[in-house]
């Protein structure tokens, strides 16, 4: 049996244990997001998925779907806040799209296009963090990290390797490599690892690939991020259980 809630005036049905984000995407309704990924537990850190329920703001990726909920997402008030969040992310790192090899495959860039971010608005931070090119096959450009922890989650939950972590707090928070030397060559990361394929920006790079995919054939050249997120949504609706309700059903 499925219940329903209201999202921007439309009826969305959901399965037990689904979040608002999961139910919305499954129902073909895009809610902008960066740290949410269909294959990982929700994280709730980027706040791009912020929705309004009864005057309160909540993260759609962590909010369990509830019958009768009245949620707003695609409204100018929230989209303006989302644009500001994106602008802050864009200036905090070195996101120079014309010379970035992730351009066209970058979820941050694609989401900024989707939400029509026209200017950086804030002053650039211009971080100057040294790159880690120590691994023979993989290069890390820390200057683009948006701290979504997807690589941390992927390495830990799927690869069982724990290669990445976040260190520091607040403005000094940054990505580190879990090795005594701090260098990627001293980890057991491999090209096939899930952690190699989840970074929404251009931090974790396979060496030598660079710009080998021509303009026009890159991921977001084909279809905008909103449409692709709907394609990637778990469908048919996930049945069964999650950790939280294990044993209840």
């Amino acid at each position: 049996m499925t219940d329903t809630f209201q999202l921007d005036g439309a009826t969305v049905s959901f399965e037990p244990c689904q979040t608002v984000m999961q139910a919305a995407l499954t129902a073909g309704r895009y809610i902008p997001h960066l740290c949410y990924h269909p294959e990982f537990k929700p994280h709730g850190s980027c706040k791009l998925c912020t929705i309004k329920v009864g005057g309160r703001t909540l993260s759609a990726c962590t909010m369990p779907a509830e019958a009768g909920l009245q949620a707003e997402s695609n409204i100018e008030e929230l989209n303006a806040l989302r644009r500001t969040l994106l602008q802050m992310l864009l200036v905090e790192g070195n996101h120079f799209c014309p010379s970035c090899e992730a351009s066209g495959n970058c979820q941050l860039q694609a989401t900024a296009y989707e939400l029509q971010v026209m200017t950086p608005h804030f002053n650039q931070f211009f971080p100057d963090r040294p790159l880690d090119g120590s691994h023979p096959d993989i290069l890390l450009d820390f200057n683009r990290c948006i701290l979504c922890e997807l690589c941390v989650r992927a390495s830990c939950e799927m690869d069982g390797k724990n290669v990445f972590a976040l260190a520091g707090r607040g403005i000094t928070k940054h990505l580190i490599v879990n090795a005594e030397s701090g260098m990627l060559r001293d980890t057991d990361i491999a090209l096939e690892d899930k952690a190699m394929h989840v970074c929404p920006v251009g931090v974790i790079l396979k060496k030598g690939v660079g710009f080998s995919v021509p303009i026009g054939a890159r991921r977001y050249d084909q279809r905008p991020v909103g449409a692709q997120a709907l394609d990637d949504a778990p469908r048919p609706a996930i049945s069964g259980s999650c950790d939280a309700c294990e044993g209840k059903s």
Binding site: P98, G210, F211, I215
Partner: protein, 513 residues
């Protein structure tokens, strides 16, 4: 061990040879303290910010003339630490005017880094991209930037000495300029993915071929482009016939030359060995392996300019400066390997007893010969089935050092990188075309100052003579404002203490105040 291949000559901090001239070459005045300083300061919107300073005495006699260009040194620092495969795309940002040239020169350097020998498809797609760039750049320069000087006169009414004036008086010329340029940009878009900041050329090859649809799309206009390029040559010739004395003598100076030539001595804009000839036509070196350019070229620094002054080692820093670009290439190659351009070259070399080949204004003619050559080559390549090949990238033995040299629209362009075992760039040296021509441009404007300014009150028209001479070289700074007569200029007459005596300013809309 010190790596001399990256050393400056002479090293920073050592004494620079005294350049005070004793033979009136106007580089450095004997007694600057008694002279008025005049600065022509075109504030440009892109990297190439140029400024001319003149020192005049109370009788308006010229004692010193210098062209200063703020060079792109910052980039060589900026690229350090970046992965090598990023360079061909990133370097395009250092010049908004000919990004494709940097894209290709850096790719050639990275071919060496990855030990690649290009596949036929990769080399031909790159060449096509390069010829598209030559075509669009030369069209832009001739039709948009220079034709107002040439068709209206150097000191014609400033209000119409611009592209809008050309469009009104010679609509067909203006239209062809626009469409030739557009065609070149379409070639770039198809090969590089975008008109500017494309990504088509990558270390070891290219990321796409040219589909048959893309080929056919370009083929339908190519005949027209060749015909218009031929017409442009007729126009240039007429201009020379009508103004032979002026064009032949304007800013004329003797110079050594440097350019790439193919193994058989043919003009080749994409690849070849270095050829240098002295001002009397004697060959200094030929087919020199450009990957070891530092053995024959060195860079001098002068206290008054940010830009370095490259020179031919065998002649030394004072005498060894040279000129690069279309005029050097067309006059110094043995022949041009496309029939129409070769015919045009012969006519050019024979014109007026061969004298135009040594004239600064000969640049314009040579540029149009190259535009025709580029159009012919584009046609030739479009009929080559290798463009549709799928073998795009190759790799070999990884190297530490990569040097890429091409003939960019403005002249020889050198990119040189050192990449460490982590695949990160540790050093970079670039010698861009405008830098090669630094001293040569200074010579040309000194000559113009002698010929036209010396002893006369400065006017806008005289000022433009200096610009006309600089513009003949098509340095980045002249294109930076994208429209002739729109370059904001400010000239100040200062007394010895630096007090402003009078000013002459031209705003971006061409108005004088």
């Amino acid at each position: 061990m010190v790596d001399t291949r990256f050393a400056l000559y002479p090293p920073y901090g050592t004494d620079i040879p005294n350049m005070n001239d004793k033979n009136g070459n106007l580089e450095t005045a004997a007694h600057p303290e008694n002279l008025r300083r005049v600065a022509i300061d075109p504030v440009s919107r892109v990297e190439g910010h140029g400024k001319v300073t003149l020192l005049l005495d109370e009788n308006d006699r010229v004692h010193q003339v210098r062209l200063h260009i703020v060079e792109f040194r910052g980039f060589e620092k900026f690229v350090q630490g970046r992965p090598y495969w990023e360079a061909p795309v990133m370097v395009q940002r250092l010049c908004g005017i000919c990004p494709v040239s940097h894209h290709i020169a850096a790719s050639k350097a990275m071919d060496m880094i990855v030990g690649a020998t290009l596949t036929p498809t990769a080399e031909k797609v790159r060449r096509l991209m390069h010829y598209g760039q030559i075509l669009q750049s030369h069209a832009l320069h001739f039709f948009h930037l220079s034709s107002p000087d040439l068709l209206f006169g150097f000191d014609s009414d400033v209000a119409r000495r611009n592209i809008a004036g050309i469009a009104a008086a010679y609509p067909e010329v203006a239209k062809r300029g626009v469409l030739l340029r557009k065609f070149g940009q379409e070639v770039i878009r198809i090969t590089a993915g975008k008109r500017i900041h494309g990504t088509g050329s990558i270390p070891g090859g290219v990321n796409k071929n040219v589909s048959t649809e893309e080929r056919d799309y370009l083929l339908k206009d190519i005949e027209q482009m060749i015909a218009w390029s031929r017409d442009a040559l007729v126009l240039v010739r007429q201009l020379f016939e009508q103004n032979l004395d002026l064009y032949n003598n304007f800013g004329r100076f003797k110079t050594h030359t440097l350019n790439l030539v193919r193994e058989d001595g043919a003009l080749d804009l994409y690849h070849g060995g270095l050829r240098a000839r002295d001002m009397d036509g004697n060959t200094l070196f030929d087919h020199y392996d450009s990957r070891h350019y530092w053995d024959v070229i060195f860079e001098d620094v002068k206290p008054w300019s940010y830009m370095k002054f490259p020179f031919l080692r065998s002649l030394g820093p004072e005498r060894g400066w040279y000129r690069v670009g279309p005029l050097s290439r067309v006059t110094q190659c043995d022949f041009i390997p496309t029939p129409l351009a070769n015919q045009a070259r012969k006519a050019f070399m024979a014109f007026a007893g061969g004298s135009v080949a040594g004239a600064t204004m000969g640049f314009h003619w040579a540029r149009m010969i190259e535009m025709l050559h580029a159009a012919e080559l584009i046609q030739e390549l479009l009929h080559d089935p290798d463009l549709q090949g799928n073998d795009l990238v190759s790799k070999g033995q990884r190297q530490e050092r990569g040097v890429g040299v091409i003939e960019a629209p403005r002249g020889t362009l050198i990119h040189h990188y050192k990449v460490d075992e982590h695949d990160q760039i540790v050093r970079c040296n670039l010698i861009v075309s405008t830098t090669h021509n630094n001293q040569a441009m200074n010579e040309a404007i000194r000559q113009v100052a002698r010929q036209y300014l010396d002893g006369r009150k400065l006017t806008e028209g005289l000022l433009n003579h200096i610009e006309v001479a600089i513009r003949a070289f098509d340095p980045c700074l002249s294109c930076a404002t994208h429209a002739l007569g729109k370059m904001p200029l400010q000239v100040e007459l200062l007394d010895v203490e630096g007090g402003v005596l009078s000013t002459l300013a031209r705003s971006a809309d061409g108005a004088f105040s």
